[in-house]
């Protein structure tokens, strides 16, 4: 492994440089850009949950002064693949789906034009609840079918494109639904399943077997900044200002959506007002101003309103899960049988339900396990990965059962988590490998979950608080809860570019997004440390593909910290090698006789004999070739090559692909500890204290980490307390719209004390030791609070989240659960 640099920057607090622009109002988000002659566009949204356009009458709209052009789905490039979503459609699959866009001189004109457009609709069958769609003769959300079928197995020796997943029709029998009456999820035929170990033997061995059904409600990402975008064309190039989590990867996606080369796109997204998964590779809606501005030959601003964001801004998948778990007396899980019905929404193929299965197998290390699942289309908002997509829902289905088992077995919640916790290179999922089952289960690079639980238990004073739990004071009763959220936390194989220029500064090109995680800057500190560069002399270039950025990971799924510390490490090590070589060339001796320090390369032990970085940068340009980027490594991505060519000759260039080895899959873990107070006369829950402890590898920027741990925890807490989607099932209409009814957590809903900590143990399979951390706190926050509520008022009070006052009050009042047991979106 690469040598360890002296960490002067890694692990220390600092303030990212973009903060000044943000706090003075100078930072520009997508909707802050203006262009001469800029038009505005508004969208016509489907009034029906599923329909087809028979005829559109645009005459009255086009006759209005100020209306410049109207874009329909027919104007957009076709996209391949079953279930592919385009930005506009002639067959809306959910109420609120954009059907056409009007460009006009101002928004008022555009809005009034939309009111003058007549559309003749052909209503089509619809369904908003996945179980309803699985009923015998139940409606299907799409004309092609209602469920995803996995790709057919590839025949041995087959060549050509691999088989793709398909949309099929799946209906269960009336017999399958018999269990529904008892509030248990029916388990009909599924098209996907896996297992390992001997499930039956596991259940036989168990001292306690529980079989429970839980609903994890989907909810909107609801980023503060909507997915507004502004676009214009100049000299054959598309210039687009958009809101996306990723920059380089978004330009790449956009080129595919539009069918133009990525080199013809200048994509600017210097600041993004949150993503949480909903803007991963960029929102497809940005194709509307992109195409419309070409059609009308003028810049077009598409301002997405909060209500529109609610429709097109993405939603976490809803899961109804049933799990049967066998426990030994000591709490160890002998067998787990997990069955999930996922609401896939109207578009895309979301693998959260598979992620939930993998996460459950990792998090609770059952000795034997089976996972079965089906992803059902509904005529609801398009889903997308939301912060911990899958593992959070997996947590939500399994954790309450763990807590119930702990109560019945007389075990402490922490103990039952510890005895089942993954450690070291813990296995997960089924035994599969390239080409099919190979008998060996995949495993993680490292896991220090027990360490996190121990550290948290002490810091949270778990034992003291536990002693107080369950005692009623007036109408209030307290409870404590713990849960561990896991999530895959890092990919590999991306590129880094750094340059040391004759101005003596280090320039780090950053191709990831600036969505609030600060990773686009934080991770540049890896390069600065390796190159012994004072931070004041480091410039990070980000947010604009016109500034020549390297091929980078998608800024999603807790990947960035891991992926880009590695890529920046590789590029910096390349620059370091070149610095040493140049010094040896100029000053004699061999490269290994030189070292780096204080922005100089010098003879080991003789700082006087060396070159400043300014000199080295100039020398690299004089030498040319590989030194200043005129010769590039073969294995870097084409996107990186294009950027590096543009940067060639500016200074000494470090450019490399992350080829560092990795044994295992990278996962992070966060243990959450919650104390709640439930008012049994009102049903209202107050979270009074919360602690998140991360097992996320080496800490890069402690304050960024703390922010991620708290932010993720609070998202989970919001899911536990309030956040949900609500549909009128009869009309297929969304009701809980905008912020008001979607109910994101406010500052007065967070616990008054909110603490964090990290085990800070480096991951052994990555050079900087850092893993990602955005996702895992979510499932921990969600379930620690749910477990604490169960601890306070009983493990059988709820079978769905969020646990709102009505849920608690009705259960306590009636001595049994009164809420809808299985339905989504209530």
């Amino acid at each position: 492994m690469a040598d360890k640099a002296d960490n002067k920057l890694i692990g220390k607090n600092y303030t990212p440089p973009d903060h000044i622009a943000k706090v003075t109002g100078k930072a520009k988000w997508a909707e802050d850009f203006r262009a001469d002659g800029m038009l505005f566009c508004k969208l016509l949204l489907s009034p029906m949950p599923h329909a087809r356009v028979r005829k559109i009458d645009l005459r009255a709209a086009l006759a209005m002064p100020g209306v410049k052009a109207i874009l329909t789905a027919d104007d957009l490039p076709k996209l391949d693949g079953p279930g592919a979503e385009r930005a506009l459609t002639n067959e809306p699959l959910y109420q609120g789906e954009p059907v056409l866009a009007v460009a006009a001189v101002d928004e008022l004109t555009a809005a009034e034009a939309i009111e003058r457009i007549d559309i003749d609709w052909e209503p089509l069958p619809f369904v908003v609840d996945p179980l309803e769609s699985l009923r015998p003769n139940g409606p299907s959300a799409r004309l092609e079918g209602n469920v995803w079928a996995p790709p057919a197995p590839r025949p041995a020796g087959a060549t050509g494109a691999p088989p793709q997943p398909e949309i099929k029709t799946l209906k269960w029998t009336a017999e399958d639904f018999v269990e529904e009456a008892a509030g248990r999820l029916p388990m009909g035929k599924v098209l996907e399943e896996w297992s390992y170990g001997d499930l039956d033997a596991g259940f036989k061995e168990a001292a306690l077997v529980l079989d429970e059904t839980f609903v994890v409600n989907g909810s909107h990402h609801q980023t503060m900044e909507s997915r507004s975008a502004m676009a214009y064309w100049q000299n054959g190039k598309l210039h687009i200002y958009c809101s996306t989590q990723s920059v380089v990867r978004t330009a790449d996606n956009l080129s595919q959506w539009l069918g133009i080369p990525a080199s013809d796109i200048v994509l600017v997204s210097e600041y993004t007002g949150g993503g949480f998964g909903s803007k991963g590779g960029g929102p497809i809606s940005m194709t509307i101003p992109a195409v419309l501005s070409k059609k009308v030959n003028a810049p077009v601003m598409m301002r997405i309103s909060r209500e529109e964001e609610h429709y097109i801004g993405r939603v976490r998948t809803n899961m109804t899960g049933r799990v049967k778990i066998g426990f030994r007396k000591d709490g160890r899980i002998t067998a787990m049988d997990l069955f999930i019905v996922q609401d896939n929404g109207s578009y895309g193929r979301w693998n959260d339900y598979a992620g939930a299965g993998n996460a459950a197998s990792l998090m609770y290390q059952p000795l034997a396990m089976r996972w079965r699942g089906v992803s059902v289309f509904t005529n609801t908002f398009p889903k997308m990965q939301q912060r911990s997509p899958g593992p959070m829902q997996g947590n939500g289905i399994v954790e309450p059962v763990l807590t119930k088992a702990a109560k019945q077995l007389g075990l402490d919640q922490i103990e039952i988590h510890k005895i089942n916790a993954p450690a070291g290179k813990a296995p997960f999922g089924p035994a599969v490998g390239p080409g099919g089952p190979n008998g060996k289960r995949p495993y993680v690079t490292s896991a220090f979950v027990k360490e996190a639980l121990d550290r948290g238990a002490e810091r949270f004073k778990w034992a003291e608080r536990k002693a107080q739990a369950g005692q009623r004071r007036g109408s209030k009763v307290r409870g404590v809860g713990v849960a561990v959220g896991p999530h895959g936390s890092g990919s590999i194989g991306y590129d880094g570019i750094v340059t040391i220029r004759p101005d003596g500064k280090l320039y780090v090109q950053s191709g990831v997004g600036n969505l609030g995680t600060h990773s686009m800057v934080d991770l540049a500190r890896v390069a600065a440390d390796i190159l012994a560069m004072p931070w004041e002399r480091v410039e990070v270039i980000w947010g604009d593909t016109g500034k020549f950025l390297p091929w980078s990971c998608l800024s999603v799924g807790s990947q960035t910290t891991h992926a880009m510390t590695r890529a920046n490490h590789a590029a910096a090590m390349d620059a370091k090698r070149k610095l040493l070589e140049i010094a040896a060339k100029d000053l004699g001796g061999s490269p290994d006789e030189y070292e780096l320090g204080n922005a100089r390369v010098y003879q080991r032990g003789n700082p006087g004999r060396g070159l400043s970085y300014a000199q080295a940068g100039a020398r690299a340009i004089a030498l040319g070739g590989k030194y200043d980027g005129h010769e590039l490594p073969e294995d870097i991505h084409d996107f990186t090559k294009r950027s590096a060519k543009e940067l060639a000759g500016l200074g000494l260039m470090g450019v490399a692909k992350d080829n560092y080895p990795r044994d295992g899959a990278t996962w992070s873990f966060v243990a959450g500890f919650a104390e709640v107070e439930v008012d049994v006369e009102t049903g209202k829950t107050t979270v009074i204290d919360y602690l998140a402890v991360g097992d996320v590898g080496t800490v890069i920027n402690p304050r960024s980490l703390g922010g991620q741990l708290h932010g993720g925890s609070c998202l989970g807490i919001g899911h536990a307390l309030f956040q949900k989607m609500v549909y009128d099932q009869h009309y297929g209409m969304p009701l809980a719209k905008r912020f008001h009814y979607n109910k994101p957590l406010t500052i007065l809903d967070i616990p008054p004390t909110l603490d964090w900590d990290a085990v800070n143990l480096p991951d052994p399979e990555t050079p900087v030791g850092a893993r990602g951390t955005g996702e895992p706190p979510v499932g921990a926050g969600y379930c620690a609070v749910m477990n604490a509520i169960a601890d306070a008022v009983g493990v059988d009070v709820f079978r769905r989240g969020p646990v709102t006052p009505d849920v608690i009050l009705m259960s306590l009042e009636h001595g049994r659960r009164m809420h809808e047991p299985l339905k989504a979106h209530v």
């Binding site: 600092y14 303030t15 990212p16 903060h19 000044i20 943000k22 706090v23 003075t24 109002g25 100078k26 909707e31 802050d32 009034p47 029906m48 087809r52 028979r54 005829k55 559109i56 009458d57 645009l58 086009l62 329909t72 002639n90 008022l108 004109t109 009111e115 209503p123 089509l124 069958p125 619809f126 004309l143 980023t223 503060m224 900044e225 600041y271 993004t272 007002g273 949150g274 301002r303 309103s305 909060r306 609030g516 995680t517 304050r703 960024s704 922010g707 708290h710 932010g711 609070c714 919001g718 009309y731 297929g732 209409m733 905008r738 912020f739 994101p744 957590l745 500052i747 007065l748 008054p752």
Partner: protein
């Protein structure tokens, strides 16, 4: 040019779900529309401007200590005037419905949601936006400085509104407890949910303000 009528042909008849379609939604909009449809603003507005009690479009605003002349439609909100007429894009629109606080500005020192204020109602008032907070020489306001020092906020789309809400609150409550401060700035949403760090930053900012 545009095709004024797009015929997509009649598709084969599909079975309609046993549920009803909501004609009500469509009908409701249509009724409202036909009852009181107004054509584009310009002509209609100017013709009304002579009516008793109605307003002139060209008005004077006091924004960040500067007097600005601006042409404002009757229905225009302060957020839109700031962002699209005066180039002050530091004020963000998060919801446009008084549900998030991203557009918070001070009007006569009092925090308001500028998305929910008609520009015509603040003609004689002092408006302060995030752009007017630092000194003319560029020295950050103590609250801004504290945000920088504590790395408050993540994506920061909510930041301007939060900062303005905090400045307004601290003018009247210079020495709040953490809980009082939380109540004071509770009309602002942060979806990164970095509330804890925001409070830490503003508590430090309050301290800076007391020392200044």
């Amino acid at each position: 040019m545009e095709e004024p009528i797009i015929e997509r042909g009649t598709e084969e008849k599909r079975p309609i779900s046993r549920r009803d379609f909501i004609k009500g939604v469509i009908a409701a909009g249509a009724v409202a529309t036909s009852a009181s449809y107004l054509f584009r603003s310009t002509g209609a507005m100017f013709s009304q401007s002579s009516a008793q009690g109605s307003v002139e479009r060209l008005i004077t605003l006091n924004v960040n200590g500067q007097i600005r002349r601006v042409d404002v439609m009757n229905q225009e909100t302060l957020a839109m005037t700031l962002r699209y007429k005066l180039g002050l894009t530091g004020t963000k629109l998060g919801c446009d419905r008084a549900e998030c606080g991203a557009c918070t500005v001070l009007i006569d020192d009092v925090p308001h949601y500028s998305c929910s204020v008609l520009t015509h109602t603040v003609r004689s008032r002092k408006i302060l936006t995030i752009e007017g907070l630092a000194s003319p020489r560029g020295e950050l306001h103590p609250i801004q400085q504290a945000v920088v020092d504590e790395q408050g906020f993540q994506c920061a789309f909510c930041m301007s509104g939060f900062v303005m809400a905090a400045v307004g609150f601290l003018k009247l409550n210079p020495n709040p407890t953490r809980s009082e401060l939380a109540h004071g700035i509770s009309g602002n949403l942060c979806r990164c949910q970095d509330y804890n760090k925001i409070l830490t930053a503003f508590m430090r900012g309050a301290e800076y303000m007391r020392r200044a």
